[in-house]
């Protein structure tokens, strides 16, 4: 299983077309944010987590304007 994931990731990394730093305007828009409203997302996931058995997966960083 691990090998498939790794090869998928590597293939996938190389498949992306290079995006120049100044071409990230669309990715930085609020409607494109993975975590638009943290509190609302946490409440929603916490509710589903306490009503269903599945949980996990959410979290992590990245995307957006890539400014530093």
């Amino acid at each position: 299983m691990k090998k498939i994931i790794l090869t998928a990731l590597v293939l996938f990394l190389t498949a992306c077309s290079p995006v120049k730093p100044w071409e990230r305007g669309n990715l930085a828009l609020p409607q494109m944010a993975l975590e638009g409203d943290a509190q609302e997302a946490n409440f929603r996931q916490h509710t589903f987590f306490s009503k269903e058995s599945s949980s996990g997966g959410y979290g992590g960083h990245g995307g957006g304007c890539g400014c530093n």
Binding site: K20, P21, W22, G25, A28, L29, G66, C67, N68
Partner: protein, 166 residues
């Protein structure tokens, strides 16, 4: 662990090598360009600013550090303008409305030019948003600076003052 460290160093080297291929170099001539000026609605050339110390800034309205930088750059410009300091801010928003809305919130009295396709950002090898190049009176790039945080304005002003005194 040792082996891992070495491969990590190896990849870091490879990555850093590939990243820097297109960037411009310190102490090289700043390539001249001509871009539409949003105030005069004419085309401005970098060479028009020859003899001045120039803070050339590549920015866009959607980039948070640019919001931090504009008010600070505006004060710096007002303070040093008389001594032969110019700011050329190249906006790269795809649509000019977004830029206009930004400039109503963060007014700029220095020159703002338009480069939506990022043609000159490519030539200057912009690697991060925002990126700025400090150019001396002889047209040479003396400092390259990517990103922007509040504390940077002090260091930038020192460099500008030093170059103005040259």
């Amino acid at each position: 662990m040792h082996h891992f460290y070495q491969t990590l160093a190896g990849t870091a080297l490879a990555l850093s090598m590939s990243m820097s291929a297109s960037a411009l170099e310190l102490n090289s001539v700043a390539p001249d360009f001509s871009l539409p000026n949003i105030k005069t609605h004419t085309v401005s050339h970098l060479s028009e600013y020859r003899g001045k110390v120039i803070y050339l800034d590549f920015w866009a309205s959607w980039c948070p550090p640019c919001r931090t930088s504009f008010p600070l750059l505006e004060t710096l410009y007002k303070k040093q303008q008389a001594k032969g300091f110019a700011i050329v801010a190249i906006n790269m928003d795809e649509e000019s409305e977004a830029m206009e809305r930004f400039l109503t919130l963060y007014p700029a009295s220095f020159d703002v030019l338009r480069d939506p396709e990022g043609v000159w950002a490519d030539t200057y090898g912009v690697e991060a948003m925002p990126s700025s190049f400090i150019i001396d009176k002889k047209g040479m790039i003396r400092h390259i600076h990517s990103g922007f945080s509040k504390a940077d304005i002090v260091d930038i002003e020192n460099k500008i003052v030093k170059l103005l005194a040259e």
